[in-house]
């Protein structure tokens, strides 16, 4: 019988080394003995690898090429050149960056949002070029609202992240205020586009309730007793 010099436990003869610390067992008196039966067989039952999302996403990306090529081919055959099929390209680019890219490549969340914004920008640009419309809707409406929406997505993800140290109610306060301001900004850009910047009107219907709700949440957050009450009442 052998003992682990490190742990002080007796080791079953079948153990080649101490399972607790990995120290090898060499008992000079018992070397010649035949190999004892191990308590478990050597065959390991392997788990199937969990679904390889990266593989599936890459596969779907390849599938996306089928409608793209089909429309391009149809476009060439019908109009003798590539025209409207660029829209399909732009659309698929947005689908790819929003849904598939996060599964294929790992990068910081900010970068995903930035790439998605660029893809939407490209799609809008393509629409502008192909429809040969005015620049102003793109510059005054499309791109600014895309940019703002991106910023808001980033802000929401930061608020929802488990690393966020703020109390939950404060996070909701910020999120609500953010939604209200976003709507005001949309009205501002619409005004800009219509060449008439005036005092916000309809967006105030969204802004005020949001701000009122947000401030009441902030107040609630300051009252430990009320907070406790909410926790209690909403406990399930």
């Amino acid at each position: 019988m052998s003992y682990c010099v490190n742990c002080g436990v007796e080791l079953q003869k079948s153990e080649p080394r101490c399972p607790l610390c990995g120290t090898e067992v060499i008992n000079p008196n018992e070397i010649a003995e035949e190999k004892p039966v191990r308590p478990y067989p050597s065959h390991v039952e392997h788990l199937d690898r969990s679904v390889d999302r990266r593989y599936i996403a890459s596969f779907i990306s390849l599938l996306l090429l089928i409608p793209l090529f089909t429309t391009m081919l149809a476009n060439i055959l019908v109009s003798g050149g590539l025209t409207w099929s660029y829209l399909v390209l732009g659309g698929e680019l947005v689908v790819f960056t929003v849904f598939l890219l996060p599964m294929i490549a790992r990068m910081p969340k900010v970068l995903y949002a930035a790439i998605d914004a660029v893809a939407v920008g490209v799609l809008l640009l393509l629409i502008r070029v192909l429809t040969q419309s005015e620049w102003d809707w793109l510059l005054l409406l499309g791109l600014p609202i895309t940019g703002l929406a991106t910023l808001m997505c980033w802000f929401f993800s930061a608020m929802a992240s488990p690393k966020c140290r703020l109390p939950v109610l404060v996070r909701f306060t910020f999120a609500l205020a953010c939604v209200g301001l976003f709507v005001v900004a949309i009205e501002f850009f619409i005004g800009l586009y219509m060449h008439a910047i005036f005092w916000p009107t309809w967006s105030l219907y969204v802004l005020f309730p949001c701000l009122v709700l947000a401030s009441s949440l902030l107040l609630l957050n300051r009252r430990a007793r009320v907070k406790e009450e909410i926790k209690k009442r909403f406990y399930f």
């Binding site: 080394r17 308590p39 478990y40 067989p41 039952e45």
Partner: protein, 429 residues
């Protein structure tokens, strides 16, 4: 005229079983394993016949788990589970489709017969009755052993009794409920193991040694082991967590066999948990202090009244009309969330002591050893189970991380307390 097919038999899940299919996923199933090591090599063919006869006595062990619109249920099937060769990583997740839908599997290796149960079927006590009946039947077929049958070793020529499949939780639920909320406990973290390998380390002790030590302190063996394990987890937290303010409570989930508290003959789930523990922020605890805490905590918590409140809470949730009418897939999400809040999160690890297995002399002469192993838990990466048989108390640790920190801490602690420990493992050479 062709014989009319019998209406298929089916069974609702018992109250404790409801959570297990909802929380299972592709890489985790709540399993436990009981095994008996015989004096000679196991004969697969005889084992198959023995299984068939045992399942005739306990037919619902071969029921298959099915999805209803609102709940999972167990359904009778005419096929029998296959007998498998054992593997190096016992209790690795059970995929029901790979297992032909059965919720248990019988495995053999050399002299050992092992049965792995999915927790929807039964708990440790029910599993033990199944294993003992299976082994008794095997020994009868192989050696003609005439083993007296009773409550623990069933007679396979008798039909199954209705009280064995009763949902005792529903029977023993009362009127008063309480919140399940508790402080979350410290969890031991480590390096994930390749493709879900499950490490088993068995520490075997002389049961009389442990009993003498426990008696010396005026506590039970379970309480003695629990206190030692709490201090082992505590030591790990003190080494790993830099600030005393960041220490979390160290608590152990200790399953309680409710059959010892309430009259019940059920062989399905009938267990509940208590979580004794210490708060390391308050200072270092000595072994005697911890023993004292565990002993009195158990005395306070393991009473028919408090356990009844716990049972009632669970049964009441099951009877909640909103929950009942929720479609299964939404219910699963809800149960998953609840489990993540009040399941493993409340304890640092589990210590399940099944007590002493006593076999009649006619059977004991063929059975050298018995083991009880818990399958990996959902969140906690290490857990342990123990069973005493033939004068040896065997503590089996199950681990899904690479580092055997808790095992080392626990077994060396027992050695220091004056209990010699002999270890073996499923480590790959």
């Amino acid at each position: 005229m062709p014989k009319k097919k019998n209406a298929s038999k089916w069974m609702k899940l018992d109250n404790a079983a409801l959570i297990y299919p909802a929380t299972m996923n592709r890489s985790w199933t709540a399993l436990f394993r009981l095994s008996a090591t015989l004096t000679e090599r196991v004969d697969e063919d005889i084992l198959e016949v023995a299984q068939k006869r045992t399942l005739r006595r306990l037919p619902w062990f071969a029921y298959k788990l099915k999805r209803g619109l609102f709940w999972f249920y167990l359904e009778h099937s005419d096929d029998l589970p296959r007998i498998e060769e054992d593997v190096a990583n016992p209790c690795v997740r059970m995929r029901l489709n790979e297992n032909d839908g059965f919720c248990m599997r019988v495995r053999y290796y050399h002299n050992r017969i092992a049965v792995e149960f999915f927790h929807v079927l039964t708990d440790g006590t029910g599993g033990q009755v199944f294993l003992q009946t299976l082994v008794a039947e095997y020994l009868r077929l192989k050696y003609g052993a005439n083993i007296p049958r009773g409550d623990k070793i069933l007679d396979c020529s008798e039909p199954s009794q209705p009280e064995e499949t009763e949902d005792s939780f529903a029977v023993h639920s009362g009127k008063i409920t309480q919140s399940r909320k508790e402080v979350k406990a410290y969890h031991i973290k480590g390096t994930d193991e390749r493709s879900g390998f499950v490490h088993i380390i068995t520490g075997s002790m002389n049961a009389a040694d442990v009993l003498a030590k426990a008696r010396e302190k005026g506590v039970s063996v379970t309480e003695y082991l629990t206190a030692a394990l709490i201090l082992s987890v505590d030591a790990i937290q003190r080494r790993r967590v830099p600030s005393v303010h960041k220490y979390k409570p160290v608590k152990l989930s200790v399953p309680i066999n409710l059959r010892n508290v309430f009259p019940s003959k059920t062989l399905r789930n009938f267990a509940n948990y208590v979580n004794p523990g210490i708060d390391p922020r308050l200072g270092e605890y000595t072994f005697d202090e911890t023993l004292n805490i565990v002993h009195h905590f158990m005395a306070m918590e393991v009473t028919p009244k408090l356990l009844n409140v716990k049972i009632t809470t669970n049964v009441r949730s099951e009877r909640n009309a909103v929950l009942r009418l929720m479609p299964l897939f939404i219910k699963n999400m809800a149960l998953k969330y609840v489990y993540s809040q009040v399941g493993d999160a409340l304890s640092s690890t589990t210590l399940s002591n099944l007590g002493v297995a006593k076999l009649p002399e006619e059977m004991a002469q063929y059975v050298r050893r018995m083991d009880f192993i818990l399958g990996p838990l959902a969140d906690n990466r290490v857990c342990c189970a123990s069973l005493t048989y033939n004068g040896r108390l065997r503590v089996n640790f199950t681990r899904t991380i690479a580092e055997p920190v808790l095992e080392r801490e626990f077994f060396t602690r027992l050695v220091k307390l004056g209990i010699p420990v002999k270890v073996e493992s499923n480590q790959q050479s």
